[in-house]
Symmetry: C2
Subunit: 192 residues, 2 copies
DNA sequence: TGTACATCAGTGAACGCGCGTTCACTGATGTAC
DNA sequence: TGTACATCAGTGAACGCGCGTTCACTGATGTAC
């Protein structure tokens, strides 16, 4: 291995990418440093050339997870800059999203962990939620602004709740029924 | 300490009660056996007179958490046997519930952990969710049965999602706004 | 009723394993002359 | 261009701590006579 700056940066990004997935899959303390480095094709010791501590990585991976998800959402619609309600809902409530926790919405995967985590993560998450609410409000073009905001909140909560519940349920038909019911509801909010 | 059966059973229940709260507060692997026993007023070693393993306790505490919550819900309304939508929603989306993860809805607290846990827990949780959906459907007395079921699903998802999000948010006004918006929406579903 | 013995919930030290972190070392790349 | 040296990403063994589990022991209660 070389030690040019770009090489190091690539390695860094690989570690963060692996962590970003695994943390969503197994929770914020669901994977160890050694295993993580192995999955990134490296060995334990090198970790501390990139991060001051495991917590440091978690914070960075969390940020990266929000970015990954945002990017995936934008690429899921016909118009990347402005994803329609229909596209957003079909993507969010798809069986693929339900079955790919590691590549999915960080809130749905980590709500419990986020609620318990430190100020830094909480502030980041709060900003992200605010942004999500504004995007959702934009998808609900209504005459009454106040009602639009309220519907946006309900939609965001219902979507996240639906994925959370659908992932718990040990019964495929019921799990799909939940995704579909919320899909129908939320899609209607986009039609006016 | 004596060793009569009732004494042992009381101790057992104390341990489970402490675990039931702490697991919801800190996640399924958020508390250690020693700390748990200390909070129950005991010492480590005695743990294995009651449980075969930590996993064994977690399973029992999970079951107990569902029971605790169910009991709390039934005691929150005017009529314990049949809690109205208004009572249910006001209880579920209260600041008290948001701020008392340990005494609150196990799904909202542990959705991530439950999705990752074993068959036993998943099956238990699935049964619980089915029951919750039926109760919610009963609260939404509609002419159209199919619409009632769908609205029940949306309501359950929105409630759970709202608490999850409200707990993450680091900004009291926004957190309350979310609870209130979903409260208004869900309460309306109960009025027909 | 009183006495001797058995039971077993609870004690607390000890064990072993896994995990985060440290550290001396390697060897490929970059720089100086 | 070629050579000697410096840098530093990555290695992998080792350390220390915490946690789940085990175990020999205690002492209060229950039972037998």
């Amino acid at each position: 291995m070389g030690h040019s700056q770009t090489d190091k940066q690539k390695t860094h990004e690989t570690i963060v990418a692996v962590a970003s997935r695994r943390l969503r899959e197994r929770g914020l303390d669901g994977i160890g440093v050694a295993e993580l480095m192995k999955e990134a094709g490296l060995t334990v010791g090198g970790f501390y050339k990139h991060f001051a501590s495991r917590d440091d990585l978690v914070a960075e991976a969390m940020q990266s997870a929000f970015g990954d998800w945002e990017r995936k959402v934008r690429s899921s619609g016909v118009n990347p800059a402005d994803v329609s309600m229909r596209d957003y809902v079909n993507n969010y409530l798809s069986a693929e999203h339900r079955d790919d926790t590691g590549g999915g919405c960080p809130f749905a995967a980590l709500s419990g962990d986020l609620a318990r985590s430190g100020t830094e993560c909480r502030e980041l998450a709060t900003r992200q939620i605010s942004a999500n609410l504004e995007d959702m409000t934009a998808r609900i073009a209504r005459d009454d602004q106040k009602a639009g905001r309220q519907n946006a909140i309900v939609a965001v909560c219902a979507l996240m709740g639906a994925i959370g519940i659908a992932r718990i349920i040990d019964d495929e038909p019921l799990s799909s029924e939940i995704l579909d019911a919320v899909k129908t509801f939320a899609t209607q909010l986009g039609e006016n």
